[in-house]
Amino acid sequence: MTKKITIEPVTRVEGHGKVTIHLDEEGNIVQSRLHIVEFRGFERFVQGRPYWEVPVLVQRLCGICPVSHLLAAAKAMDVIVGVDPEDLSPTAEKMRRLMHYGQFFQSHALHFFHLASPDLLFGIDAPVEKRNIIGVAREHKDLAVQGVMMRKFGQEIIRLTAGKKIHGTGAIPGGINKNLSPEERDFLLKGKNPLNADKMISWALDAVNLFKFYHASHRDFIDKFAAFPSNHLSLVRKDGALDIYHGVLRSIDQDGNKILHDVDYSDYLDYIGEEVKSWSYTKFPFLRHLGKENGWYRVGPLARLNTCDFIPTPLAQKEWEEFKAYTKGKPNNMTMHTHWARLIETLHAAEVIKDLLIDPDLQGEELIRKGDKKFEGVGVIEAPRGTLFHHYKINDDDLVSMANLIVSTTHNNEPMNRSVRLVAEEKLAGQKMITEGMLNAIEVAIRAYDPCLSCATHAMGQMPLEVSLYNNENELIDRFYSYRRG
């Protein structure tokens, strides 16, 4: 008799997803899948709208990192109004960067402190009542407060650059609609403790050290859990530096060989294909020249720290060197090291934020530029969860006629499915009793990618869990059901 296990919904991730695992009579894993069960349709309903409305409209895809969508769409619209993304006014580019690094900072802090830390602090099979942010607040108050305040600082940056903490309007085609006043700058730079740039750098460094401390005593778990070799893809600056706002596309294989050589992202369709599978609303991207079987890749913090040649801020660079040394300079394919990479990026974001705040260009007056109009634009940016593509065409009346988005989590679809399979084989295969802790292990693997399954503003956190066991005739033979899960 075969069994089917369903984990629905996956918790402590953004959005709605479910996992199904089929076992045969001996309890071997026959099939495992992460299903993204939501359908959005933004690519369709922006059609027919004026192009300048698009950045503000599409950011509603997400409540966690709307700035990524705002900026990716704005970069595409820069091209349409005839302004190369590298030719924005210094004020516009730096304000956008400040907005983006602020968002990175808050999003990464949210993931580590609110979503991931309960698994690390209490263990993946700790009681569900404890394994959540409330549990962290009860037993590690300082850490919980730190997480909340780091997120708050990032949100304040977004408010002062985009106008609102969530779903602002700061980036518009060809530039921005406001600069940063000296008062706003000082609020972020010299704000009352702890809400200032220096404290955030210090806390970000503490978070990296916290992870390293945990790693030292849980080396086996962190290094081996759901680890597998893969390709990696991200934007890098033209000189190879880590850059989350603009650059060229680079991909490397599991040994560090370049398989995409710093190409112009406007030509992404030449390099990236997307496979459709009947059981998921999310496509499966791959590098065309390697094919569907071998061309899949990871994106996000781990990929970015693998593809870049260096990090252009001193403290993060030092941490990156230690990170690279751990794998002797080779790409890091250890899934749980994504948390380490994410925290190094958080530190980098804090350093960049401080550098930007002391730059007088933020008080400049040239906000918008305009050139010769084009009818097609591609904008690519590194969102917290990975590389984000926005591609639009407009008609003679300035109305959108085509939109194509490849959202970060989409790239990680195949890697997340492989992680689920690996953990299922390790934790569930051959087991007579399926425990809640075993199922959480599956979610821990998914959570490492910080997926935004719907890229939406809802369905995060404490959700009901249903595990159903079916026989090979699809008859329900057992069910485990629980509310208020961590």
């Binding site: 027919g48 709208r49 004026p50 300048w52 503000v56 509603r60 106008g163 609609n177 009346d397 300035d398």
Partner: protein, 234 residues
Amino acid sequence: MNQILKFKLDGVECMGYKDQYITNAAAENGFYIPTLCNIPGVKPRGACRICNVRVNGKLMTACTTPLANGMVIECQTEELKDLRKAIIELMLTEGNHFCPSCEKSGNCELQALAYRFNITVPRFKYQFPERDIEASHPKLIKDHNRCILCKRCIRVIKDEQGRNIFAFGKRGNRITINIDTELANDISDENARMAYEICPVGAILLRENAFREPIGKRKFDHVPIGIEMERFHK
């Protein structure tokens, strides 16, 4: 010199002038009567009906009713507040108003009234009408999804020869306000901007002008609509 008239508004003794409409007289006495179609200096039409008041017990539109001596006007009764709220809700459900992506958000009078009347969910069903967007004109765009047929544009925007640039098209519940294609080609920048600004919603748009005003600087970001008129009475 205009003749001075006395009237009572919600029990308060007020004064106004002969030939003055109730809306304007109320404003001068520190009362705000909401309206979406009325513009100072332009002949009123009573199109939106939000300014309904009871004059000597009878329901009248304040923007089209001239003041008379001894009038007793009721404005802020529960019945009238609910009537106005219902009209605003009808407007919100009759068109396709998606504030999150509308460039008029923060400057939109309909949105501001919805906030003022605490409309969190309308009592009527959304109609979701299928409407198009007229975007072939060089300076202006007419988004029929958002038009509330207030006629402000028809009454105010004229070319140098006094011809209407906006006019009604179709009839009955399919009625629309359209842009005259030929006249719109020659519309001045000043007139185009005025059309954008007098539109109480986001139905008339200036090409490539969107979201230039940052959040925090928009008309209704910090104060509710009408508060500037409510000097003495709220």
